[in-house]
């Protein structure tokens, strides 16, 4: 990642302005060797998703989008460092449903929510 991209991600002001496509959530992408990294800022948080082989930048983008929704859903009062650590157990369980030991498990946000709360998934019933 370049210095500019790091600054761009951390600077919430730039995120609010958005880029020329009008996209306020500014996910960035880079490749390091054979590995792809998709990353974005969310409040005080920086989320990095990295993968290789079949997990290229497009699938990682889907995973990142789901991860952002998970964190937003859990940290309803705003994504701050304290809030994230306070909800650490919830985020851990939800992300455990999202990715299992390096494999993409479930991508639908509501399904992840159901299983994280040990409920049946109504969509598949």
């Amino acid at each position: 990642m370049t210095r500019d991209e790091w600054a761009l991600s951390r600077n919430s002001l730039d995120q609010q302005k958005g880029d020329k496509y009008g996209d306020k959530n500014l996910p960035l992408v880079a490749s390091i060797g054979e590995k792809y990294v998709v990353y974005s800022g969310l409040g005080e948080l920086m989320i990095f998703i990295t993968g290789s082989c079949e997990y290229d930048e497009l699938i990682l983008m889907d995973i990142l989008a789901t991860m952002i929704e998970i964190v937003k859903g859990i940290c309803k009062k705003g994504v701050t460092e304290a809030g994230v650590i306070e909800a650490y157990h919830k985020i851990s369980i939800h992300s455990d449903e999202l990715i299992k030991s390096g494999f993409l498990n479930i991508i639908q946000n509501d399904t992840i929510y159901s299983y994280a709360h040990m409920k049946y998934d109504k969509t598949t019933k």
Binding site: L28, E54, E57, D62, S92, H117
Partner: protein, 848 residues
């Protein structure tokens, strides 16, 4: 003091961070909470959260600590609180790799797996996968198999993903689940379909026919999941490497019209990566990628420009249609995308667009980091060589960025690019040297300065106004460190040697260097002064202006080290150093089985006998005549003499119950040009001891024939009592068939270096030339052909002609060697890639 604050009221203070100052020791003391009856769900959940947090922060748990916590947490199986059970499963998974005796919870896990609650089942399967090893798996296999075909997709996915992990430790066992896994590919759940296909591919990956059948059955449209489709596209592309069935290509084309962008991109990427794709086939894929270039999603733009960058190497004309869209990406906020766009434009731009492109790049370069800049510099180098007419503007650009701030690797890349352009485009030499002279006026990198000074010394005297470079070089003798000053002295001396009219002035400058602080600088100055003042033209030519060392540096270094180690009264003579390019030492090489060496008597006898054969010309690399796991492991080295070949066989007996005696190899030549003269057998060969046997074969001097030999290992076998080590007195004759051994032209050739191939080539002349054309139909690429030809002829590639870019369609390979009898031979192979590789081979040598 316990500083954690979860569950307490938050401070209004903004700097409040939960778990700040959390200490492992204090947290571990709380594990008694898990043993309470009944367990307090809230407190236990909080405790598990703290433990997980500590683990994620890199806190190290000892084995004992991890085991204690593991057992403590496992007591939560008795709790019916659902959130707590969920946390428990998570914690058990994290600790499973750290703790001992983890299999103790199998009973609890199997109870959950046999139960009616699918949520518990799925999580229990995941934990089971982590704690199971290959010895335990057969006992719990049925749970996985049942779970794979479970109606609940959560359970099925858990089992399938577990199967993927278990393939690493127990592949044979997981392969037995193939029929269950096959069913999941038709599941209604998109994720189960995806996981099932992934596991099925893992199971069948070594069975090409199986994979082909799997893909053929699925491309007809039963796959709905976009992730499974992406995987299927990759599998189809793999199968297409070997199959020419059109159904796979039609499938890829149909995927270009899929609803999911991911699938569309994957299909476009797969089509672009196919080996024998035509321009027409690739056009549709490129148009899809062109659409993605203007997408609002950064990942799509990145993916598209990344793929187009690769396509531009092989199909630059196909990508030119996207140039306008890519130009708009130069200002993209994502610098990775911008750099890829620039480099793609540099590959596909035409001569008229170069100037416009360079203006855009100039402003862009300041915004990116060094690693991206290096990529751009390399692309500019390729562009300059592609459009030699534009060398002036491109060289100016390179020199401008050379003056800007940057690290060593970046500056080195620019200097190397300029040097490469100067070598490949002679018209650019003066401009290039001028730019480099300005650079060394303020260069902080010693290596780069010395490299440029050396180049100035070589090329400067050959320019129209050589004297203008002397100022730059002389400045370096006073303003720089000792390494650079030494190089500057050498460069000055080269000017003095090559330009007689400037020699008096150079001598004056060199005299000033005699007062330098550094020994090396003074030594060089006095040496060069001495040579130049002698006015002996051949001496000056030999020692300064045309120093030809036709000796590999490795050999020279070794010879100098040996001389210093064992000094003699005789002066060091460079002509005594071997010119042969060093290969792996053969005579002292250990056997492949690592067996102990046998008695030296055989070797000594051989040495005595073969001393009469004259000077050894060459020894080949060892050739294996058996597999490494056979009863008798045999390898052979061929020693080439003037009119004989000595085959040295290294034989190892791998059977404990046998001892071999009078071991020899019977060789039967298939060609009448060879005559087997004699052999030396290995007297005794116990178990795991390598012995050596020799066979001498004669041929007509100067004939140098090729041919194969049928080889049979003959010996007397004596039984050995493995308990006592006693050997039977009586034995029986036996033999063992070996692979044939071949003697080819390359065996009579050894690799040598030449300092100037062109000079030697011109000296030999067309009168000593033989030309023939070959069609190498089995070679698919130029690099493969280069490698094969060098190996087949046994000659050394010179002037870096073995360095070939992968996609090149034309190349000239230059080879040098010495044939038996120390006859120098040069070869030039002109290659062109068509259906195979067409090669015109020119060979020059004084000996017909």
């Amino acid at each position: 003091m316990n500083k954690n604050r979860i569950g307490e009221k938050k401070d209004d203070d903004d700097s409040y961070i939960p778990f700040q100052g959390l200490e492992k020791g204090i947290v571990l003391q709380e594990k008694r909470l898990f043993s309470e009856t009944p367990v307090n769900p809230r407190k236990c959940s909080t405790l598990i959260t703290k433990l997980l947090y500590l683990l994620s922060q890199g806190e190290k748990f000892t084995k004992q600590e991890a085991t204690d916590v593991f057992f403590a947490v496992s007591k939560v199986f008795q709790s019916k609180d659902i959130p707590l059970r969920r946390m428990m499963f998570l914690m058990l998974k994290e600790l499973s790799t750290l703790a001992d005796d983890v299999i103790i919870i199998i009973a609890s896990l199997t109870k959950d797996m046999s139960g009616n609650v699918p949520i518990y089942k799925a999580n229990a399967i995941r934990v089971l996968c982590r704690i199971t090893d290959s010895s335990l798996l057969p006992q719990v296999e049925r749970y996985f198999k049942q779970a794979i075909v479970d109606k609940d997709p959560h359970v099925a996915s858990a089992a399938l993903i577990s199967g993927n992990h278990l393939m690493k430790s127990s592949p044979e066992l997981v392969k037995r689940w193939v029929s269950e896994v096959q069913e999941t590919v038709n599941s209604k759940s998109t994720m189960v379909q995806y996981h099932g296909l992934a596991l099925l591919h893992q199971i069948k990956q070594h069975d090409r026919l199986g994979v082909s059948k799997l893909v053929t059955s699925l491309v007809r449209g039963s796959v709905k999941s976009p992730y499974a489709m992406c995987l299927l596209i990759r599998l189809a592309a793999e199968v297409m490497e070997e199959s020419e069935d059109k159904i796979f290509f039609e499938f890829l084309e149909s995927c270009l019209r899929n609803r999911s962008e991911m699938v569309v991109y994957e299909a476009a990427r797969a089509i672009c990566s196919l080996k024998n794709v035509s321009t027409k086939d690739i056009a549709q894929a490129v148009s899809v990628l062109q659409m993605f270039l203007s997408s609002s999603k950064a990942t799509l733009r990145f993916a598209a420009v990344r793929t187009l960058n690769k396509v531009a190497v092989t199909f630059p004309l196909s990508v030119t249609t996207c140039n306008l869209d890519m130009e708009s990406l130069i200002t993209d906020s994502n610098r990775s995308i911008a750099t890829l766009a620039i480099t793609t434009l540099l590959k596909t731009g035409n001569e008229s667009s170069v100037d416009r492109l360079m203006k855009q790049i100039t402003s862009f370069m300041g915004d990116i980091s060094d690693e991206f800049k290096i990529v751009v510099v390399d692309a500019i180098r390729v562009l300059t060589i592609k459009f030699p007419q534009k060398h002036r503007s491109l060289m100016t650009f390179l020199s401008n960025i050379l003056r800007e701030e940057g690290g060593y690797e970046y500056k080195k890349a620019i200097v190397d690019s300029i040097l490469s352009i100067v070598v490949q485009i002679p018209e650019s030499k003066e401009a290039g040297l001028g730019h480099l002279c300005e650079f060394i006026e303020d260069c902080e990198f010693t290596f780069l300065a010395t490299k440029i000074l050396h180049l100035l010394g070589q090329e400067g005297p050959n320019t129209k106004q050589p004297s203008k470079y002397i100022r730059y070089i002389y400045n370096r003798t006073s303003l720089e460190n000792a390494f650079v000053r030494s190089s500057a002295v050498s460069a000055l001396a080269t000017f003095g040697a090559k330009l007689e009219n400037l020699r008096p002035s150079i001598i004056v400058l060199l005299r000033r260097c005699l007062y330098d602080n550094d020994d090396e600088v003074r030594d060089r100055a006095s040496f060069y002064l001495d040579v130049l003042e002698k006015r002996d033209a051949p001496l000056v030519h030999r020692l300064i202006s045309n120093v030809n060392i036709d000796i590999p540096l490795v050999n020279l270094e070794q010879a100098l080290k040996d001389y210093l180690r064992n000094p003699s009264k005789k002066a060091f003579d460079i002509t005594d150093v071997s010119t042969e390019v060093a290969e792996a030492p053969v005579v002292k090489k250990e056997t492949t089985t690592g067996a102990k060496k046998g008695p030296a008597s055989t070797t000594a006898a051989a040495a005595t006998q073969f001393a009469t054969f004259g000077k050894l010309f060459k020894s080949s690399q060892p050739v294996e005549l058996t597999e490494s796991e056979t009863e008798y492991v045999v390898s052979c080295v061929k020693h080439i003499f003037n009119d004989r070949i000595v085959f040295q066989y290294t034989v190892t007996n791998t059977l404990k119950e046998q001892q071999l005696e009078k071991v020899m190899v019977k060789m039967v030549p298939q060609s009448a040009d060879f005559k087997v003269e004699g052999a030396i057998s290995a007297p005794v060969l116990p178990f795991d001891v390598a012995g050596t046997t020799y066979v001498s074969v004669k041929y007509v001097p100067g004939g140098h024939p090729s041919g194969t030999f049928a080889c049979t290992l003959k010996f007397i076998v004596k039984e050995v009592d493995t308990s006592t080590g006693d050997v039977d007195d009586s034995g029986f004759d036996d033999d063992y068939q070996l692979e044939e051994i071949e003697v080819t032209t390359s065996d009579y050739m050894k690799k040598t270096m030449v300092s100037s191939f062109q000079e030697e080539w011109d000296r030999l002349g067309e009168d000593n030339e033989v030309v023939e054309t070959f069609n190498l139909s089995t070679m698919k690429t130029i690099p493969d052909a280069v490698k094969e030809i060098s190996t087949y002829l046994g000659m050394q590639a010179v002037d870096r002609s073995d360095q070939v870019e992968p996609k090149k369609t034309k190349h000239v390979l230059l080879l040098a060697g010495k044939f038996a009898g120390d006859v120098p031979v040069l070869a030039m192979a002109r290659m062109k890639l068509q259906t195979g590789v067409v090669m015109q081979l020119l060979v020059r040598s004084e000996d017909q």
